[in-house]
């Protein structure tokens, strides 16, 4: 069974000047354990699509039509309460800029601990600490013990992104949304983080929705690729198939 199914989803922004349709009639499904890359130019609605699934859209945006199913259950009309439950346990997200995604006034360890404690409030201090360090080891951050006590501004972009990923993994999610997670990093670190995604998928078996505008990044991690343009998802298929097609079209 598919982990996530989206049927005919449309999302609009309602501005005083009028309605803007950011996502138009999008349908796709996500298989367990796969990495689905959603590719498209900046502003084509990739990010809005993800945020509408986890219901973290800004106030002016709303789901207009369509249905979302998580593990066969419809979650389209879930209220904030139900979504909170899902976000803490089944959905996680990694963001484009790790430096702003972390709270500047909290140590990274505390931020990861917060996510862990939300799932098991009874956890003891020592266990909590061990779990945080375990997560930091999982994302291959060096000297996790020292790093846990540090603040985001003391870390490099790559290190900070590893911490964000560790936070996302704390919930042991079924679906991980990665919203351009490598765009703000330099090439070498980018490759490391992409390998980390592949490795984590092997270890933890979660499905990943990976957003990018960069075909090279997509080619490195994708099992399947969905192409978006101006709010519409116009093509979805196996990675090899899609890339061959694209190359073919260009010649």
């Amino acid at each position: 069974m598919d982990v996530l199914t989206v049927k005919n989803l449309s999302v609009s922004f309602y501005r005083p000047t009028g309605e803007i349709e950011a996502v138009k009639n999008v349908s796709f499904s996500l298989r367990p354990g796969e990495i689905l890359v959603i590719m498209g130019d900046t502003g084509c609605g990739k990010s809005v699509l993800c945020k509408s699934i986890v219901k973290l859209l800004p106030d002016i945006a709303r789901i207009k039509t369509g249905q979302i199913f998580f593990q066969g259950k419809e979650i389209t009309d879930y209220t904030e309460k139900g979504m909170q439950e899902l976000r803490g346990t089944s959905f996680s997200m990694v963001f484009q800029n790790p430096m702003t995604a972390l709270n500047p006034c909290m140590s990274v360890g505390a931020q990861i601990a917060e996510a862990v404690r939300l799932r098991c409030p009874e956890i003891s201090r020592r266990e909590l600490r061990n779990r945080v360090i375990e997560l930091l080891e999982l994302v291959e951050l060096d000297c996790p013990k020292e790093r846990a006590g540090q603040y985001p501004f003391q870390l490099s972009g790559g290190m900070a992104q590893r911490c964000v990923i560790a936070t996302a993994l704390a919930a042991n999610p079924a679906v991980l949304f990665a919203d351009e997670p490598t765009t703000s990093l330099d090439t070498e670190v980018q490759a490391q983080i992409l390998d980390l995604f592949l490795e984590l998928r092997e270890k933890m078996g979660m499905a990943v929705i990976f957003i990018t505008h960069n075909p090279k990044v997509a080619a490195r991690v994708a099992d399947r690729v969905a192409l978006m343009r101006a709010g519409e998802l116009y093509r979805i298929g196996d990675a090899e198939e899609i890339f061959e097609e694209t190359i073919h079209n260009h010649h």
């Binding site: 996680s92 702003t100 909290m106 917060e114």
Partner: protein
Amino acid sequence: MRRRSLRKPYITIIEELIKFALSVFLLSVLVFTLARLAPGDPLYAYYGERVEKMSGQEQEAARERLGLDKPIPVQYMRWAKGAAHGDFGISYQYKRDVKEVIAGRIGNTLLLGGLGFVMIFILALFLGLFCAWREDKRADRVVCRIGTLTSCIPDFWLSLLLILVFSVWLGWLPSSGAYSVGAEKGFADRVRHLILPLAVVVLGHLWYYAYLVRNRLLEETRADYVLLARMKGLSGKQVLYRHCLRNVMPSYLSMMAIAFPHILGGTYVAETVFSYPGIGTLAYESARYQDYNLLMVVSLMTGILVILGNMFAKILNERIDPRMRLKREAQKEEVRGF
């Protein structure tokens, strides 16, 4: 930046002290000169109406006795010499040592100002949080409207309005003083006299700080880290308390440290209208009657409070914000390294 970072900590302290002394000196010169250039005759403070019956010669003699016949720089030197030894002269109006006059009043002002400050500090935080939580909902809008209205009403007018309603019409609360005659020690009586001036001090300042908290919080709720926190499964309210508030606190605390003398100064208006025997009424009277010595000490005290508030705010800010604190520690390491 680099040059500064190599300095030893005690040099910074000495630097701050020099700055402090210099500011106080400049302030004293300014107040001294301005007070003496202002129109009016200090002899009225000392002799009252009798001045008019004095002959020119007698007036000259009185001026000489009070040291008011010399040019201003000479007068200032004399004053500064005395002040350095802790002698601030006598109050012309009360004919007592300035220190005594102030000692009898300062407790009242600190009580009113301190209580007002604590209430503003706490209420502003709660109001700001409430409004940020209910952003643009009806509750937020209503609070914002009322807040803007109360902060726009001049303090003295608000005072008169409160006196009219609660003292004249309803007769619930006394309209002036700090205690009823003959009941100087009664706690309940004291509280009853405090309510109206305190209400004026709090209402006059509260919204400014609450609005500040609200807007800083709303800025924070638009930050990226809020999304990550929400994705952990935290509710919007939890993110506001646990994450946004933490980022607002350093600037709020330093803001409030600066605000302390400001709010204490705000008590001056309330004191004057309610004839509350505090420093504020003294400041008003001393300026009005050219009671130079008293005016000097009251202004200097207020000025020193402002300067100390600013210094405290700076130190506080460096202590709380991890970015500032760690930078400071890194600088110390650097110093040791050399």
